[in-house]
């Protein structure tokens, strides 16, 4: 009997499925049919797997899934730091888009990522940022006319 981190995922699926079935119980037949038809078997499958992982051996002999293989040749502490770093950058980009909108966020993000994270020289950072901005403006705004919302700051200041 051993709890493994991967069992957390089975547990999460069980919770999601249970919530789905619980929430659907008062809906009309039309609306509830599919959540029931998927939620109940999902709960049972995830539960079976949780039990197998909790009480069973390490893994069956079948072989791995056809999936991306994460890098294993990086020191775990370094890997954890880099994961936290990239997730922070991604979250930062989303916040930046919310605050100033895409047209401003794109060049700012690219410039700061290149110069601070990738440690590229200022000149190259400027050049690459310029290219990215031209691509953004030329393709998405000039050619495809895609509408981009203004940022929170612009709408607050009325500019």
């Amino acid at each position: 009997m051993r709890f493994k981190p991967r069992s957390l995922f089975s547990l999460m699926l069980m919770v999601v499925a249970a919530y789905a079935v619980f929430a659907a119980r008062h809906w009309s037949f039309k609306a509830a049919l599919f959540p029931f038809a998927t939620g109940i078997p999902l709960f049972l499958l995830a539960g079976t797997l949780f039990v197998l992982e909790f009480f069973g051996g390490d893994e069956d002999t079948g072989g791995p899934a056809v999936e991306l293989e994460l890098s294993t040749d990086v020191d775990p502490a370094v890997a954890r730091r880099r994961i936290a770093g990239i997730l922070t950058w991604i979250a930062g980009f989303i916040v930046l888009v919310f605050l100033v909108g895409f047209p401003v966020a794109v060049p700012l993000f690219i410039f700061f990522y290149l110069s601070l994270q990738s440690r590229v020289g200022w000149r190259l950072s400027f050049t690459l940022t310029g290219i990215a901005w031209l691509c953004f403006y030329g393709l998405f705004q000039w050619l495809l006319h895609l509408p981009f919302e203004e940022g929170f700051i612009q709408s607050m200041l009325g500019i």
Partner: protein, 504 residues
């Protein structure tokens, strides 16, 4: 009929139609490379431009654009692990690991050549099938289409690792994808499901942010963790030789390419299934074609067959989708529904007239598919060397550009900041799936199929109760599903017996 075939060719080769096809191809090339902006969305954007065009010119423009977007979508899937199109996601699974192994040129060569073969097969089937396809399409009602979707999901579970736990994980992920697709307003009763009080979720989750997040973000995180170029610290491959090798691979595994093209055509013909399904089922077929478990274990780590199968199906399904669209006015997929609008704008009514009075126009569509794909592949092959070099640029320079494309692409789905948050959340979910060994493909297929499966299930239950389970085609499909589920176990058992016999 032969006269109509020649007339169709001449219609496409008229200078105006040909020029418009080239313009459409240029647009399709760009759109295919950009994640998130799908071929269907671009068709919709370009529809107003065909008002003053003749039918041959209009179809050359629209179909030229659409068929190219399907081909070039594979390029970003291979180079960055970011699907350029929703229908190019399956190419990521083996295409991107090939790029990481320093075989980007080979993967691109294989993807393009198999796409060309697939497109030609799709066009050929379109030309031949129109008179005979009617009984097939009409024999598939809601119960049969529901079961067919279930067979598709069962096929994908074969990618989830062999053994009991692998299969359970695959099915659980397929069901999870189906469940997530129920978020939003139920279309028949109007009930709001799992909307968490957010108006954004009323329309349900859009495919693009979910798909781009679940595939692109884990690849970007892994690239950041490695701190190298996509191709690692390897010496640059001989790109020209790699591309030629990829082209040769298409002919080495020619029957696989033909079979996967057939899968694409078949799924394309069936209304509602769409290109994403065709690609995944073709990929699953490629995996199941492995000789034994050892051979199977090569998939997902950069096996060229995993690129050939989806590449072929991706383009052959275009011909397949056009069959019901042209012959019955029943669109085979989202893009074809938009193309139907094109028919009406140009004063044409899909149906019997397209097979008699307007037969040359119908054949001009076949020729457009053929010519546009040949030109695209030749042009792409000319620039592949330069494209593949990107995989040797260090990750730190690539990541901000890929992130910018990923999030701009996701944003175009609904034009809301919430699209970016959904991308991020599903990116994290995708990373956890990879980390804990849960397969992403069944989830994606479940999510893609969710809405149509729900509709088919509801209609089947409402119309037939449980008696639909005894329909002959349904019974055959249930049997096929059981076979698909059992096959990996049989394969595993055979492999073990062989190993045991060798040891003795």
């Amino acid at each position: 009929m032969f006269d109509a075939l020649i007339d169709g060719l001449l219609l496409v080769l008229q200078w105006k139609a040909f020029s418009l096809m080239m313009v459409g191809m240029g647009l399709g090339f760009i759109v295919g490379l950009l994640p998130g902006i799908g071929g269907a969305a671009t068709l919709a954007l370009m529809l107003p431009f065909i008002f003053k065009m003749s039918p041959a010119e209009g179809f050359a423009f629209l179909l030229g654009m659409h068929s190219v977007a399907a081909t070039t979508g594979d390029i970003t899937s291979i180079l960055f692990g970011v699907p350029g199109e929703a229908i190019s996601a399956a190419t990521v699974v083996d295409g991107y690991p090939m790029a990481k192994k320093g075989e980007a040129g080979r993967a691109l060569g294989a993807a393009l050549m198999s796409s060309l073969v697939g497109a030609l097969i799709g066009a050929l089937v379109l030309a031949l099938a129109i008179p005979v396809v009617r009984p097939l399409v009409l024999s598939f009602g809601s119960p049969e289409l529901f079961m067919l979707a279930m067979v598709g999901i069962a096929c994908i579970t074969s990618l989830s690792g062999l053994g009991v736990r692998g299969q359970i994980r695959g099915f659980a992920m397929g069901l999870f994808g189906l469940l997530i697709s129920t978020i939003g307003q139920e279309r028949q009763s109007g009930t709001l499901r799992f909307d968490m009080g957010l108006m954004y979720l009323w329309d349900g989750l859009d495919l693009v942010p979910v798909l781009v997040g679940i595939f692109a973000i884990p690849e970007i995180i892994d690239l950041a963790v490695r701190g190298t170029a996509i191709a690692g610290d390897r010496q640059p491959e001989d790109l020209q030789a790699g591309v030629i090798e990829g082209i040769k691979d298409t002919f080495r595994h020619f029957w696989l390419v033909v079979r996967c093209s057939a899968v694409g055509v078949f799924i394309g013909i069936l209304p509602g299934a769409g290109g994403g399904v065709a690609q995944w089922v073709a990929y699953a077929h490629a995996v199941q074609s492995a000789k034994d478990t050892k051979d199977r274990a090569r998939f997902g780590k950069g096996d060229v067959r995993g690129v050939l199968g989806p590449g072929a199906a991706n383009n052959s399904k275009e011909g397949g989708e056009l069959i019901p669209t042209v012959a019955f006015g029943v669109p085979g997929g989202g893009a074809m529904a938009i193309l139907l609008g094109g028919f009406l704008i140009m004063g044409l009514t899909p149906g019997p007239d397209m097979l008699t009075k307007h037969l040359p126009i119908t054949f001009s569509m076949v020729w457009t598919l053929v010519i546009a794909n040949i030109i695209t592949v030749l042009l792409c092959l000319a620039v592949l060397n330069h494209l593949a070099k990107v995989t040797y640029v260090r990750g730190g320079l690539i990541i901000p550009f890929v992130l910018f494309l990923v999030f701009v692409g996701s944003y175009t789905a609904n034009g809301q900041i919430a699209d970016l948050i959904v991308t991020f959340i599903f990116g994290l979910l995708g990373y956890l799936m990879v980390l804990f060994g849960w397969p992403r493909p069944p989830f994606v297929l479940g999510f893609v199929l969710g809405k149509v499966v729900e509709t088919y299930l509801f209609i089947s239950m409402n119309r037939y109760g449980f008696s639909w389970l005894t329909h002959p085609v349904v019974v055959v499909l249930i049997f096929l599903m059981v076979l698909v589920i059992a096959y990996p176990f049989v394969q595993e058992r055979r492999s073990r017996n062989r190993e045991l016999a060798d040891a003795l």
